[in-house]
């Protein structure tokens, strides 16, 4: 794992790899029209995923992580959703301007999705075998018997025992974990280059989650597949990701290799989030709430809940991505890391003292009533 990190550390400069990244998202915006102002779900996100690499987007509900992942193959409902600016390249090909017909070939072909709720993602009135065959035949010209053979192979690969006898079973005859395995099989049917997994284990019990995470890691290694993993669970991130991007209110707050980000969390939001984990000392949560996505405040989106906030945090745009320490790939969007400022104000601070909401938080809450 570490060798791979070495080659992917510097992303903006071409490395010894001569191929481009599998997925390259640059300055992606995704807005939703409402009666009043647009909801800015994703507001300028840049990210790359290399072949064989797992990149995790971690964030809480409302951070825009799911919309960002759905924007890649334009799965969100449009209208009201639209992409006002930004570029998405897959294997070097720009896909934001593809027609619906062309996009349909990308979905399930080069890029596949696995979703959170396995219950809702399978059609209850068709057999499992039918649904896998459908995925195969949509993208490749295969006969029915070939598709059946392939379906058995796929189900066996995802660890469903006695696969061929289960092809004619209906979704309700499978448990939650087994359904998620079936969905992974469907996602893998056309050998995608990129698998986008949006909270694939959140609906499952920990013991089943462990099975699914291991399965995903195994399959990824076999196929050298890139994986974009969306989750709210920092434990899961630490378990499977090579690199991580922390999202808050439509922006990336911090990104870097998973070792760097967990070892030296830089952005106050990342630090607060880590402190919320059981056993990390800080009990008390992050006081305050997400800013209104229709009219986000100027400056850093986290400033109102941040105990390190200074005046510079509340003016202009979200701070640029500044390097953290010597790690080439570890960057954060925090003014304290600007050249010339002292980043130790954040880095050397202890964990959030329990039960002391910062004054700006009260102001913000009062202002909203």
């Amino acid at each position: 794992m570490s060798t791979r990190d070495d080659t992917t550390d510097v992303r903006d400069v071409p490395t010894e790899r001569d191929d481009q990244p599998l997925l390259k998202i640059s300055n992606l915006h995704t807005y939703f029209r409402t009666d009043s102002e647009d909801v800015r779900a994703v507001d300028g996100v840049s990210l790359t995923v290399d072949p064989g690499e797992t990149v995790a987007i971690v964030g809480e509900s409302g951070s825009g992580k799911t919309v960002a992942s759905e924007a890649i193959t334009r799965l969100f409902k449009s209208p009201p959703g639209y992409i006002p600016e930004g570029s998405i390249e897959i294997n070097g090909r720009e896909i934001t301007d593809l027609s619906d017909e062309e996009l349909r070939r990308v979905r399930g072909g080069e890029v596949s999705h696995v979703f959170q709720n396995p219950q809702g993602a399978l059609n209850p009135v068709y057999t499992i075998g039918w649904q896998i065959r459908e995925a195969l035949q949509l993208h490749a010209d295969v006969s029915k018997s070939e598709a059946r053979e392939r379906a058995v192979e796929l189900l066996t690969q995802v660890g469903i025992p006695e696969a061929s006898s289960r092809l004619d079973d209906y979704p309700h005859e499978f448990s939650g974990g087994m359904k998620q395995r079936v969905l992974i099989a469907i996602a893998l049917a056309c050998e995608p280059d990129l698998l986008i997994a949006d909270e694939p284990t959140t609906a499952l019990d920990v013991t089943i989650q462990a099975q699914i995470l291991e399965l995903l890691a195994e399959l990824q290694e076999q196929r050298d597949m890139g994986m974009l993993f969306i989750t709210h669970d920092l434990g899961v991130v630490a378990e499977i990701a090579d690199r991580v991007a922390v999202m808050y209110a439509g922006k990336i707050m911090e990104k870097g290799s998973v070792e760097d980000v967990f070892e030296t969390p830089a952005h106050p939001y990342t630090r607060a989030l880590l402190d919320c984990l059981p056993g990390r000392g800080g009990i008390g949560g992050i006081p305050g709430e997400l800013p209104d996505p229709r009219s986000p405040p100027p400056g850093c989106r986290f400033a109102d809940r941040c105990r390190h906030a200074i005046d510079a945090c509340r003016t202009g745009d979200q701070p640029g991505m500044h390097r953290v320490g010597d790690a080439p790939d570890h960057t954060t969007s925090c003014v304290h890391f600007e050249p010339g400022r002292d980043s130790s104000t954040v880095l050397d601070a202890g964990s959030e003292p329990a039960g002391s909401p910062s004054p700006p938080d009260d102001l913000e809450r009062g202002g909203r009533r």
Binding site: G177, G235, C276, G284, G285
Partner: protein, 445 residues
């Protein structure tokens, strides 16, 4: 009427079975044993947690304890009084002293009722007719949970999930309960909000001397707030103990497996102990003996069998499959032919008859991860005999062979909760007196 030496709540042998009925006459054809004999004592002021995977019966257990579900069997004593014998008036009083909060804060409020009315509702139900007094109590509580008195006039949709859960907590506390039952109180919330709600519960518990029963699937949550924890599997407690001891020194293999499956937020410590295979068995047809033995990574081999734990686990799984007659030879053949390449490549219709017995036996072994050759000669002979019988289509013979040799104490006898360490109890044969094991060994030799 209340004796202070009594635990606040004592539950003894609580069972809740749901009948499974069929046909127009609703004939009972089986029973889902959601809760199958649990006992616990809640001391005043303590926080007790019940953890387990979905379907283990933890929510049903909580609902039965407070008589939201009528228990099938068992005894529940609240401050020494038998809860199951309460009449309507006593039950109403009991329902004031026990309050609940639920997982989904969205569906626990009437969307057309203002927050003030919703929080005041328990007071109205309990007969407080003084409107001013109600207002005061509600205002005070809303402030204590971190909202403001002005929020009374607002409606549930105006609040975030975390705020709604605070309101739920305020509502539960209006009538000064003695026991708060929280069923997955933070599962629907973000981690940052979870921590806030847990802190609030903790604060109230200390200030008001509340006794709290927390039901959760999340071991992290339980570890953070509970004094004592019970781990539940298929309707039974497999381990009970003080939180720190249970987490640092788990005695039951199921507790160990659950703990090892939690991803740690430390990228240098990777690898989840994926020890548990398969899913939780059907509670209407639970396994015999120790209910966990079908998935247990540490299931005890019969004396005289010398196999690695992993191999023994596979052999036992194989035996269970044979017993249920769910070895699907056709599909194994189909798969084997696919993978074998040339040898059977030109077969039109792959059927078991066209396959060499030796190949078929090897495929069956590999389907169930049984090694091609077991180290223990006696076990090897039994497995081989059984495979011969399966190839011949004689399942009864296979079953008999396997059952004779590979029956474990874990499926014969049901382990009882027994003390292991201070106040810690676990139900596992691994903790049985070591001498008994040795005696058995001597007898067989």
């Amino acid at each position: 009427m209340s004796r202070s030496d009594e635990p606040l709540l004592r539950v003894d042998g609580l069972k809740k079975h749901y009948p499974i009925t069929e046909g127009i006459l609703n004939t009972e054809v089986g029973r889902a044993r959601a809760v199958d004999g649990i006992s616990l004592e809640l001391e005043r002021g303590e926080t007790f947690g019940i953890v387990g995977e979905s379907g283990c019966g933890k929510s049903t257990a909580a609902a039965s304890m407070v008589r939201l579900e009528e228990p099938t069997d068992g005894e529940i004593r609240f401050e020494g009084e038998n809860v199951l014998e309460y009449d309507a008036a006593e039950l109403r009083r009991f329902r004031r002293e026990v309050q609940l909060i639920f997982q989904d804060p969205d569906s626990s409020f009437d969307p057309r009722m203002s927050v003030g009315d919703a929080v005041a509702e328990p007071l109205v139900v309990q007969g407080m007719s003084d409107r001013e007094r109600r207002r005061e109590i509600v205002a005070d509580l809303l402030e204590r949970v971190g909202l403001s008195a002005a929020d009374m006039k607002r409606y549930p949709h105006e609040f975030s999930g975390g705020q709604k859960q605070r309101i739920g907590l305020a509502r539960a506390l209006t009538v000064n309960p003695k026991l708060l039952v929280a069923d997955e109180p933070v599962s629907a919330l973000d981690v940052s909000v979870q921590a806030e709600i847990l802190r609030l519960i903790d604060e109230f518990q200390r200030e008001l001397g509340l006794t709290v029963l927390i039901i959760s699937h999340d071991l992290g949550v339980v570890r953070q707030v509970c004094d004592r924890v019970a781990v539940m599997y298929l309707g039974e407690f497999v381990e009970v103990g003080p939180t720190e001891e249970l987490f640092s020194n788990p005695q039951h293999p199921y507790t160990r497996a659950l703990l090892s499956a939690i991803p740690t937020p430390d990228p240098t410590d990777r690898g989840l102990g994926v020890e548990l295979t398969g899913d939780v068995p059907d509670p209407s047809d639970p396994p015999s003996g120790c209910k966990f033995h079908t998935r247990c990574p540490e299931v005890i081999p019969p004396s005289g069998i010398d196999l690695s734990q992993e191999t023994w686990r596979s052999v036992l799984t194989f035996r269970k499959q044979v017993e249920r007659e769910s070895i699907d030879v056709e599909s194994i053949v189909e798969m084997g032919v696919l993978e074998s390449g040339d040898k059977y490549g030109n077969l039109e219709e792959p059927s078991p008859d066209a396959i060499d017995d030796a190949d078929l036996k090897r495929w069956i072994r590999s389907e169930y991860d049984v090694p091609d050759r077991l180290d223990d000669p006696r076990a090897e002979a039994t497995v081989d005999d059984a495979l011969d019988a399966i190839v011949d289509g004689d399942h009864d013979r296979a079953k008999a062979h396997l059952a004779e040799e590979f029956t474990t104490v874990c499926e014969r006898e049901k382990p009882e909760l027994e003390a292991c360490g201070t106040e810690q109890e676990a139900a596992c044969h691994l903790l049985d007196d070591v001498h008994v094991e040795l005696d058995e060994l001597r007898l067989t030799e």
